[in-house]
């Protein structure tokens, strides 16, 4: 299980949940679901693929929650301009950085450049806010990100324990899984 990034698994589960409404979700799922994702899905018993995906996700989340905790210091792997050129689904480097700080799923920001542009702006705002409360932003591109955060946070941040991506996970995956009632027993 350690071989899957929680970001890849989140993408896979979200794409599965979005298949009915989002035309590119199925296509995305086929690209996201590598052998490790498929193995994680098949490790969970049950007839319903979405419920299995939910359980597999929560299982992985349980083991890798540190990956989603806000760190004391973070290194920006690319500039905002570099981020605007993200074109392939990858769960490392720039794409992951924009996903975790811009609170957006990687596949969505690859497929939709409007979402990408917004995620980049959101990431800049979030980074600036976390920096204000003591996180260090490192690397040669750190000032590019901080100077992009010109607009004030439209909403007060309440919880800086997690990276912003966790809010996405809670709203779009955990609450949906809760509706599918697949998660409750795993989490208790």
């Amino acid at each position: 299980m350690e071989h899957i990034s929680i970001y890849r698994m989140a993408d896979a589960v979200h794409a599965l949940l979005a298949v009915d409404r989002e035309p590119y979700a199925l296509n995305a799922f086929l690209k996201i679901a590598n052998s490790w994702v498929l193995r994680a899905l098949s490790d969970v018993p049950g007839p319903d693929l979405r419920r299995r995906a939910c359980r597999a996700f929560v299982k992985l989340l349980d083991g890798t929650r540190e990956a989603l905790e806000a760190p004391a210091a973070v290194r920006a792997p690319c500039s905002p301009r570099g981020a605007a050129r993200i074109e392939s689904i990858k769960y490392s480097g720039c794409a992951r950085f924009v996903a975790e700080w811009g609170a957006e799923f990687v596949y969505r920001l690859v497929y939709d450049e409007r979402l990408r542009a917004r995620a980049i702006r959101t990431a800049a705002r979030n980074l600036a806010a976390y920096v204000r409360y003591g996180m260090r932003l490192e690397g040669p591109y750190s000032s590019d990100w901080l100077s992009l955060a010109d607009t004030a946070q439209s909403h007060e941040l309440r919880d800086l324990v997690w990276k912003p991506f966790m809010a996405r996970v809670e709203v779009d995956i955990l609450s949906q899984c809760k509706l599918l009632s697949a998660v409750a027993e795993v989490w208790r």
Binding site: H14, A18, R21
Partner: protein, 230 residues
């Protein structure tokens, strides 16, 4: 009721006025499913109009305006987006409840803080589960967009406010959220309003917060407060 079509880009002018209270009923993080739906409904085949009405009314001395936060974020993704600006003329009846009902028609679960602060006090005064203003807004909006009345009745919001017998399964979600928070070892400093307090006061407040996360303690405390009508 006055209905106008306005450019979302021109919203700043509305908000800038004096004694305008901006109320934000939207959840902090909008689910992608809701956002996708709103984008679809405001796409060009529907005339580039946001299905979220902007809503304004006067009550007492102040003028209230529904927060344009979500409109702005939609306009970010769809330049040239227009919004329906609905102004209630005269004394509004249960305006916050009406807003909550219309937004749930659109599939938006309004923020709990909004329900607690604005809607619950109205519901406590509302005798029949009927909000004519909600019907009026629906019919104004549906001249432009087909919006079906699918929202939960005021009764189910009542339950959220603790004004009904059946409290449903709300508690489970709270437990889940608490669990998620409790299992972490916080690294970045959490922002809380406690920084201004002295050491001793902060310790007391934190102890109470810890106590509240224990369901039994919380129930007992609420019972006590209710019994003495606090």
């Amino acid at each position: 009721m006055k209905v106008d079509l306005i450019d979302v880009d021109a919203l700043a002018g509305l908000v800038g006025g004096e004694r305008v209270l901006v109320i934000d009923p939207y959840p902090e993080v909008v689910p992608t499913a809701v956002e996708d739906k709103l984008l679809y409904l405001s796409s060009s085949i529907y005339g580039g109009i946001s299905p979220l009405p902007l809503f304004s009314f006067s009550k007492g001395e102040a003028r209230y305006l529904l927060s344009p936060r979500l409109h702005k974020s939609l306009a970010d993704l769809m330049p040239g987006l227009k919004a329906l600006y609905i102004e209630v003329v005269g004394e509004p009846q249960y305006p916050f409840t009406a807003v909550a009902l219309v937004l749930s028609d659109l599939g938006i679960n309004v923020a709990e803080a909004f329900l607690r602060e604005y809607v619950c006090p109205e519901l406590a005064a509302l005798e029949e589960d009927d909000v004519p203003l909600a019907r009026a807004i629906r019919s104004a909006v549906s001249k432009y967009l087909a919006v079906a009345a699918s929202s939960p009745s005021p009764r189910s919001i009542r339950c959220f406010c603790g004004l009904c017998e059946d409290r449903g399964d709300r508690l489970d979600l709270d437990v889940l959220a608490l669990d998620l928070k409790r299992r972490t070892a916080p690294r970045a400093r959490r922002r809380d309003g406690l920084a201004d307090l002295g050491e001793e006061d902060r310790a007391i407040v934190l102890r109470v917060i810890r106590g509240l996360s224990i369901p039994e303690f919380r129930r007992e405390l609420l019972d006590l407060l209710n019994r003495y009508e606090v």
